[in-house]
């Protein structure tokens, strides 16, 4: 009988729960990236999510196909602008693979050092901005202060803070200044201090832990099916780190650990990133020791195909003048063929697939963007979750528009 219904049933019946679609972005203060989410909501629960990317598309690959192999390097700076130098390194390693070049030892150590500083800057941005977007200003400022210290070092090394443009095909722009090791050690100590402060405020903070633990979950198998790499995959418990698995540069010669998580939620991602920064600091210290032990030496490969002659000789000798002229106007000729080289960037596998037809202009430069590929399973992480969980999940995916949209 109708009268027998309980009060609960009546409430359920009259509750009007039509799904609504919420448009978030493309420019939203709680997302540090230009991306649009179309969120289908049932109350505050996310039913489905569609992600629209491409707002920062500027034709990176098309541009690369219209200049010389050298002229693509500054464009790689603008991919992941938090760790520009890692993209420089990835691109140059791919071209060097095509040229079958072996860079001098000093250059490889400098690249390793600069790459790890960039990784620290990237992780600091990720962890700092995550706090900011969860309404915590202080830890963000600790993170940004530490990032400034890495950028000061970057400025000493290559003259630019963000868009480094430091790496060259077959070498680096120049050696580090004599005052660099001391400044680097001083800044490492300061960064350790700031990371300690950050850790004290955040890691066991009840509010922070509650927002992160159990949100943005993704299983190990799903990570692999979606080709997710980097801290996201390691947080899910897969110890894949190309620095260990396919060692390039000097990673086989330095001592560092690969932290992994257990369940693959945002809190695990946070812990993995924080530990990776400590490991990167260790690597930087080892690089400094190795560079000091190595002593002065060449930082560019002595190969006539890619070498730029010494400036003093250019002004005084005809041969070098011609070589300089050809290097600048034509650029190096890269033998025909194809090569894929992947490095472990701060976000995961950053691969460059380069194809040459034997001329001085690339036929194809493909950047495998970890930001785009890691973003793809985001609906999987969020279906059934609360709308508020979207913010930390997006933060720890760390989608960087420049790299995602290219």
């Amino acid at each position: 009988m109708a009268h027998a219904r309980t009060l609960d049933d009546d409430l359920e019946k009259d509750l009007h729960t039509e799904h609504q679609v919420l448009n978030m972005g493309p420019s939203h203060p709680a997302t540090h990236g230009t991306v649009k989410f179309l969120i289908e909501l049932d109350g505050e629960t996310i039913v489905d999510l569609d992600i629209a990317v491409g707002y920062l598309h500027r034709g990176f690959e098309k541009e690369c196909e219209s200049g010389t192999w050298y002229q693509a390097i500054p464009y790689t700076d603008r991919l992941n602008y938090n760790s520009a130098i890692l993209a420089n390194i990835g691109y140059c390693l791919a071209v060097e693979k095509l040229l079958e070049l072996e860079t001098p030892e000093r250059c490889a150590w400098l690249r390793t050092l600069a790459g790890e500083l960039a990784r620290i800057a990237d992780h600091l941005t990720r962890c700092g901005a995550a706090c900011l977007e969860l309404q915590a200003m202080t830890p963000f400022l600790y993170g940004i202060e530490a990032r400034e210290l890495t950028w000061d070092l970057m400025e000493m090394l290559c003259g630019a803070r963000v868009t480094s443009n430091y790496v060259r095909i077959g070498g680096v722009k120049h050696d580090m200044p004599a005052s660099f090791p001391a400044a680097c050690r001083e800044n490492i100590a300061k960064i350790r201090g700031l990371l300690g402060d950050y850790d004290e405020v955040v890691t066991r903070n009840r509010l922070f832990v509650d927002r992160l633990r159990g949100t943005g979950l993704i299983s190990r198998q799903d990570c692999i099916r979606y080709a997710v790499t980097g801290p996201l995959l390691r947080a899910a418990g897969v110890p894949l780190d190309l620095r260990k698995d396919e060692p390039y540069l000097k990673y086989a010669e330095v001592d560092f650990d690969v932290p992994i998580g257990e369940v693959g939620d945002n809190y695990d991602r946070y812990l993995v990133c924080v530990e990776e920064m400590q490991q990167s600091l260790r690597i930087v210290e080892q690089c400094l020791v190795a560079l000091e032990r190595l002593g002065p030496g060449p930082v560019n490969v002595d190969d006539p195909r890619v070498r730029w002659p010494a400036k003093g000789r250019v002004f005084n000798a005809m041969e070098e003048l011609i070589q300089q002229f050809k290097a600048v106007t034509e650029g190096p000729l890269v033998p025909a063929g194809e090569a894929y080289h992947a490095i472990e960037s701060a976000n995961g596998e950053l691969g460059f697939y380069v194809v040459s037809d034997g001329t001085a202009v690339p036929w194809k430069v493909r950047c495998r963007p970890p930001s785009l590929i890691n973003l793809q399973p985001m609906p999987l992480m969020l279906r059934g979750a609360m709308l508020a969980d979207l913010i930390p999940t997006f933060d720890f995916i760390n989608m960087i528009g420049g790299e995602c949209d290219r």
Partner: protein, 162 residues
């Protein structure tokens, strides 16, 4: 055909000898060019064969070799976490019909990658669940990474959409 000492190429040649058109290992990258009609079959084998176990589709892209036949090549980079090795598989796609089977059923990761190739190269992926443009907007005319798309081309103005 030579397997260049790569276990992936050796197993592939054993199982699909007739479908493999060319192999090489330039700069150490084991590569096989296979018939486009059998791409899903080949990639499924590479994924499921325990001795190879390419669980991860690292990358999927295309190259436009304008003036060559077939004009396009779709390039798959596979990575095995279990065995820590890689293989590159390529399949030629003609200018018309400009299409190849989708591999989304094997790896959901291919979804956005194939959308990007469709967007920038205009290669259609049969059985793709949601083949829309991804980096560009729906009204964009042409596919900009094709070699015959001039870099300077202007696009018509698109008004607001509702």
């Amino acid at each position: 055909m030579d397997d260049f000492g790569s276990p992936a190429l050796r197993r592939l040649l054993e199982a699909f000898g007739g479908a493999v058109r060319e192999t090489h290992a330039q700069r150490g990258d084991a590569t096989a060019r296979v018939e486009a009609e059998r791409i899903v079959e080949v990639l499924r084998f590479l994924r499921d064969e325990p001795a190879l176990a390419f669980e991860m589709l690292s990358d999927l892209t295309a190259v436009d070799y304008l003036g060559r036949a077939p004009r396009f090549e779709v390039v798959y980079h596979l990575y095995s976490i279990t065995h820590n090795h890689r293989v590159r598989v390529k399949a030629g796609v003609p200018e018309s019909p400009c299409q190849i089977d989708s591999v989304v059923e094997l790896w959901p990761a291919a979804n956005w990658m194939e959308r990007e190739v469709w967007d920038l190269y205009g290669i259609r992926f049969r059985n793709h669940p949601d083949l829309r443009r991804i980096l560009l907007y729906e009204e964009f005319e042409g596919h900009p990474l094709r070699k015959d798309y001039p870099k300077e081309r202007r696009q018509p103005l698109v008004g607001p959409r509702n």
